[in-house]
């Protein structure tokens, strides 16, 4: 199978990830509970992952909270910063993981920046909204539908300038682009462990610049006599048993990224996405591409997008079609009615993948 759905999850993980999961299932008990060797082995595994994440993303290990996925982390962040009816500024390309919790809170949502690949529009629109004040700003680093890379450094500066706490959704960016928690000054940065970070599903990281409100209350293995959740990180946001085998796999994924280099992975992904876009455009497909784009390309076929995805699947090529859990992004781009077929390259991006895909895309015409 030629796997081009890395925006959903990375499928071809480095072998070390699988081995780490298996080793953890053999050697690791529950961390932060007992004092015997298997419990301490689990604790060491978990802490090593916090350290590696802290190194990669420029934060302290205690600021690294383990979640079950990016959506979980975003919910923690949103529930911390946004009270019912609160005023929130978001970009025009946010995923349902951002918009649904906001709708559930009855938030007063202001969408800023709807033009694809247009930094000037994004920044100008955000500044206009931020000037009026907001309880929070939330923006994606890279659109999961179109691969649009937003100007997060500049948006971060704007938010700090206007005193608006902000959350960055790094779901598609982590493992592809630099995540500099210290430089950005965000309240929270959420990311899944199972996409660009190459860990197993069921893992995620929430980098915390402030103390989060607990979404779940329960045992933390610390200050057990107290009935309130601990008032320190990471315990405050980690009730219950951690996914230790998952975290072990995530640690292996992070180590791989540190060894190979995120920049080199991004270059490969972006190069293939550009080739893909160019090839599709030559065939007459409606393709969304431009400056500030990562390793993800969306296009609209003349037939139903799911029909094309099925055709590709039968020919051994895995893509995702439809609305990608991001109707807001499709509204911004004008593709709600048609949906799109999305190609998202991963760490193993290669010309052979692009060539094979373009051959089948040509056959579909």
């Amino acid at each position: 199978m030629i796997y081009l759905d890395n925006g959903a999850t990375s499928f071809h993980k480095p072998p070390a990830v699988r081995r780490a999961v298996e080793r953890a299932m053999l050697c690791c008990a529950n961390p932060g509970r007992g004092g015997y060797s298997a419990a301490m082995a689990a604790a060491e595994t978990v802490f090593r992952c916090r350290e590696t994440a802290g190194d990669l993303f420029h934060c302290d290990p205690e600021q690294v909270v383990f979640t079950s996925n990016c959506t979980h982390g975003l919910n923690i962040a949103i529930h911390t910063l946004v009270k019912p009816g609160g005023r929130v500024v978001i970009s025009g390309f946010e995923h349902n993981a951002v918009t649904r919790p906001l709708h559930a809170l009855g938030a007063d949502i202001h969408v800023a920046g709807r033009r694809l690949f247009d930094w000037w529009d994004t920044l100008d629109s955000f500044e206009k909204e931020l000037k009026s004040g907001a309880d929070a700003a939330i923006f994606t680093h890279m659109s999961n539908v179109f691969g649009y890379i937003l100007p997060v450094q500049e948006l971060s500066m704007l938010c700090r300038q206007y005193g608006v706490p902000f959350v960055i959704d790094a779901a598609q960016a982590a493992g592809a682009l630099e995540v500099d928690f210290e430089k950005w000054g965000a309240s929270f940065v959420a990311m899944p462990g199972h996409k660009g970070l190459l860990g197993p599903q069921g893992t995620g990281l929430l980098l915390c610049g402030e103390l989060p409100e607990p979404l779940i209350c329960g045992g933390t293995g610390s200050v057990s006599l107290e009935q309130r959740m601990p008032d320190f990180l990471p315990d405050r946001a980690e009730a219950g048993t951690l996914n230790v085998p998952g975290i072990a796999g995530l640690q292996a994924g992070l180590s791989y990224l540190r060894r190979v280099g995120v920049e080199s992975i991004f270059q490969r992904e972006q190069q293939q996405a550009k080739k893909c876009a160019a090839g599709l455009q030559k065939m007459g497909y409606r393709v969304f591409s431009g400056a500030h784009q990562g390793g993800t390309v969306s296009f609209v076929p003349k037939a139903d997008c799911q029909q094309m995805a099925d055709f590709l699947a039968k020919r051994g090529i895995a893509v995702r079609s439809g609305l990608h859990c991001a109707p807001l992004a499709h509204e911004s781009a004008g593709t709600v009615e048609t949906g799109t077929v999305r190609i998202s390259f991963g760490h193993d991006a290669a010309s052979a993948q692009t060539a094979a895909f373009l051959q089948v895309a040509a056959d579909f015409l």
Binding site: A43, E62, G221, S222, V223, L225, E226, P230, D235
Partner: protein, 83 residues
Amino acid sequence: MKMDCITFRSITPAQRAQRVLQRSGMEVVLQRTPRRMEERGCGYCLRLRHEDLQRAAVLLRQNGVGFQKLYSAEQGEIEEIVL
């Protein structure tokens, strides 16, 4: 050999402290905090040689690693140490 304990409110700061002190060449052992030393419920501590305690406390403060209390433990007797 007289051993002392530095207690922490949870395992993560204890592990961070372990890293800081081991990097400075100290021998420390991470373990569960004895119940008698733990006022708020469960926690973890670092056991280390009595001679290293003062330097350890300074290093931890310099590195921004918070700890709870310092104890000496000798032949079953526990005594809080205030530096």
